[in-house]
């Protein structure tokens, strides 16, 4: 799920950036540092939408770096258990398939794939129903439900299922 929240971070700035463009430099450094990263607590930071507040800079002893506490608004993405997402299949395996929903990777094990779909190896490994009507292969879009998340300090990984009602392939690229 996406959230728009305010986060705070202490940015260290080298003196060479001081001057007229101090604030711009600070903001661009913040964006470079933070966008695309993931924290276990908030999720993936997708984009910074604005700077709320830049505090007074504190000069560090010994080095000339200055630390600014910056409060910024950003869009974050955090998956939750029980959430239903659309994802794009990236890899198909005998044990299941991997899909990506934006920055987060989701694994659906074959155990949670409907029993009527069987794995077919080959050039393009896929899961197919017995009558061939539904196929899951690379780049297919599927709707899945998240049944578990694993949150490390800087990484989030999910397990999903398509065994429930209204889940499964949305769009077949080959069709």
């Amino acid at each position: 799920m996406f959230f728009h929240i305010v986060l705070e971070r202490n940015m260290q700035l080298h003196p060479r950036h001081f001057g007229r463009n101090l604030r711009d430099n600070l903001v661009s450094k913040l964006m470079k540092d933070v966008e695309g990263t993931c924290s276990g607590k908030h999720g993936f930071v997708v984009a910074i939408t604005g700077i709320e507040n830049v505090g007074k800079g504190l000069i560090r002893d010994g080095t000339g770096f200055v630390t600014f506490p910056v409060k910024y608004q950003c869009v974050v993405f955090r998956p939750f258990k029980g959430e239903i997402l659309e994802a794009v299949v990236t890899m198909v395996n005998k044990m299941g398939f991997f899909a990506e929903a934006g920055p987060v990777q989701i694994f659906v094990s074959n155990h949670l794939i409907p029993d009527d779909m069987e794995f077919q190896s080959g050039d393009m490994p896929n899961y197919t129903t017995s009558d061939g009507s539904i196929k899951i292969q690379k780049d297919s879009e599927v709707r899945l439900k998240i049944i578990g998340t694993r949150v490390d300090a800087t990484e989030i990984f999910c397990i999903g299922t398509i065994k429930d009602d209204f889940l499964g392939v949305i769009n077949d690229p080959t069709a």
């Binding site: 094990s109 949670l112 029993d115 069987e118 017995s130 049944i147 578990g148 397990i159 065994k163 429930d164």
Partner: protein, 472 residues
């Protein structure tokens, strides 16, 4: 002490869950004679009739091998049904435990009078009722949850097992396990192919796409749930009964032993000899529960010894505090300041202890005596430093000390602290005071008042020192 409902709970739980526990490995034959399934039930039942028990004793009572018993008890410890305590003690110390069970058994272990103190590790175990209650409820909860999950079409996380090393993985680890070469998951250790753990309770009827198969599975699970409920009904009822009753608590092994031995002694005084003798090997028993048996506590551990010590010292009086222990403003009794009236020779009594040589200082006030003590200590320290320098002055000292000795024996102003160095001290003091006059020099002033008047003529420098001391 253990309440009957809890014992019944333990017995029901043992028969419900552990009746097929065996200490034999999977490969060993389980023939009729040597099959020991159900051993767990026997052991748990035996534990309901005892409180803290030594494992060797239990094995003997049940007539099973110690090793088997230990294996089972270790299993129970992991299941959180039993607490164990491993203690190193001598054979003597172990007897104290036996005394604690003296009410029920009369076994006296071991021999007295070991010369070598061998510390053997004795293991004790006891049922942990509080944990048993929680564990049984948790077990039931997990069973029901599993069945319900199975019946609801499984939003559960897949598990994988490595057949080589037996390591288990979760589907959440899938990222780490996926391999590039082929399409299976590989173990991190041994790179073996992982096998998915299939439905444990309802066997999937391979690839059957029928709704029928699913329905059949669901019915099987429902059946299982129902059977579970009916078979475990007495256990669940017992749990409800026990819910409101306070849980019997035996506490730590040490605490229990103290209590039990105290109770035993209160009950029958004749047994007090042996256990109290063996208390030496025992160490600090926290005798917090001995409220009732104060009278008989002759030497039952720490408290008794403290009382004895106190009575001994009461006869002698409080110890004289050595000068280095005294700080300004301490409320010292006269005894502690070493001012109790007693006469003795100072020469021969170098190491006879503080309590013997005490002389009164009637005129001195507290401050002076404190400073005296301080001076004593200071001079002793300086003495060490200046011992080398005094070689030339020794003859002088001899003269002085011979002068000083006489008056000292009669003078009532002896200080206790530095007796054995007094002779040198006196001599050195004269010299020292010239070089480093101190506030504490009043010491010399006080007891030299009589003497130095005589000496003042002999050593004129002392007069200066006198002046200094007064100022000090």
């Amino acid at each position: 002490m253990s309440i009957e409902p809890f014992n019944r709970l333990v017995k029901l739980a043992a028969r419900a869950f552990y009746d097929d526990y065996t200490t034999k490995g999977d490969n060993q034959q389980k023939i009729g004679r040597s099959d020991n399934r159900g051993m767990a039930v026997v052991i748990l039942d035996a534990l309901t009739r005892r409180q803290w028990v030594r494992e060797e004793d239990l094995a003997k009572d049940l007539k099973i091998h110690t090793k088997q018993l230990r294996r089972t008890l270790r299993f129970f410890e992991e299941e959180k049904l039993v607490t164990r305590d491993h203690r190193k003690e001598t054979a003597k110390g172990a007897k104290l435990y036996t005394a604690a069970v003296a009410a029920t058994t009369e076994v006296h272990h071991g021999k007295e009078g070991d010369d070598k103190v061998k510390l053997h590790t004795h293991s004790y175990c006891c049922l942990d009722y509080a944990q048993i209650y929680d564990v049984v409820r948790y077990r039931l909860q997990r069973m029901r949850k599993k069945l319900r999950d199975e019946s609801e079409g499984k939003n559960t996380i897949q598990e994988y097992v490595c057949p080589n090393c037996g390591r288990r993985y979760n589907a959440l680890d899938a990222l780490r396990l996926v391999s590039m070469e082929d399409e299976f998951f590989h173990c991190e250790n041994c790179n073996g192919e992982l096998v998915a753990e299939s439905d444990k309770l309802s066997v999937p009827e391979g690839g059957d796409a029928d709704d029928n198969a699913r329905r059949r599975r669901r019915e099987k699970i429902k059946d299982m749930l129902q059977k579970m409920d009916t078979q475990l009904k007495p256990l669940i009822e017992q749990l409800n009964l026990v819910k409101d009753i306070p849980i019997p608590e035996f506490g730590n092994l040490l605490a229990w032993e103290a209590r039990a031995s105290a109770a035993g002694r209160a009950g029958n005084g004749s047994n007090s000899n042996d256990p109290s003798k063996s208390s030496q090997g025992y160490g600090g028993v926290p005798l917090l529960y001995l409220g009732e048996t104060k009278v008989e506590v002759a030497f039952s551990g720490v408290d008794g010894k403290e009382e004895d010590a106190k009575s001994v010292s009461a006869g002698v009086g409080l110890k004289v505090l050595p000068p280095w222990m005294i700080k300004q403003g301490m409320n010292l009794t006269e005894e502690q300041r070493g001012e109790v009236k007693q006469e003795s020779k100072m020469d021969g009594s170098s190491s006879s202890g503080f309590s013997d040589d005490k002389k009164t200082v009637s005129e001195d006030d507290e401050k002076k005596s404190l400073q005296d003590e301080y001076a004593r200590a200071y001079y002793a320290a300086i003495l060490e430093q200046q011992a080398a320098l005094e070689a030339a002055n020794k003859q002088q000292e001899v003269l002085e000390t011979s002068d000083l000795n006489g008056p000292y024996e009669s003078s009532p102003q002896r200080q206790v602290g530095m007796k054995f160095k007094r002779e040198d001290n006196e001599g050195d003091d004269d010299v020292d005071w010239e070089e480093a006059p101190l506030g504490g020099n009043e010491t010399s002033e006080s007891y030299r008042v009589h003497d130095l008047n005589e000496e003042a003529k002999a050593t004129p420098e002392d007069e200066d020192d006198d002046i200094d001391w007064e100022e000090g």
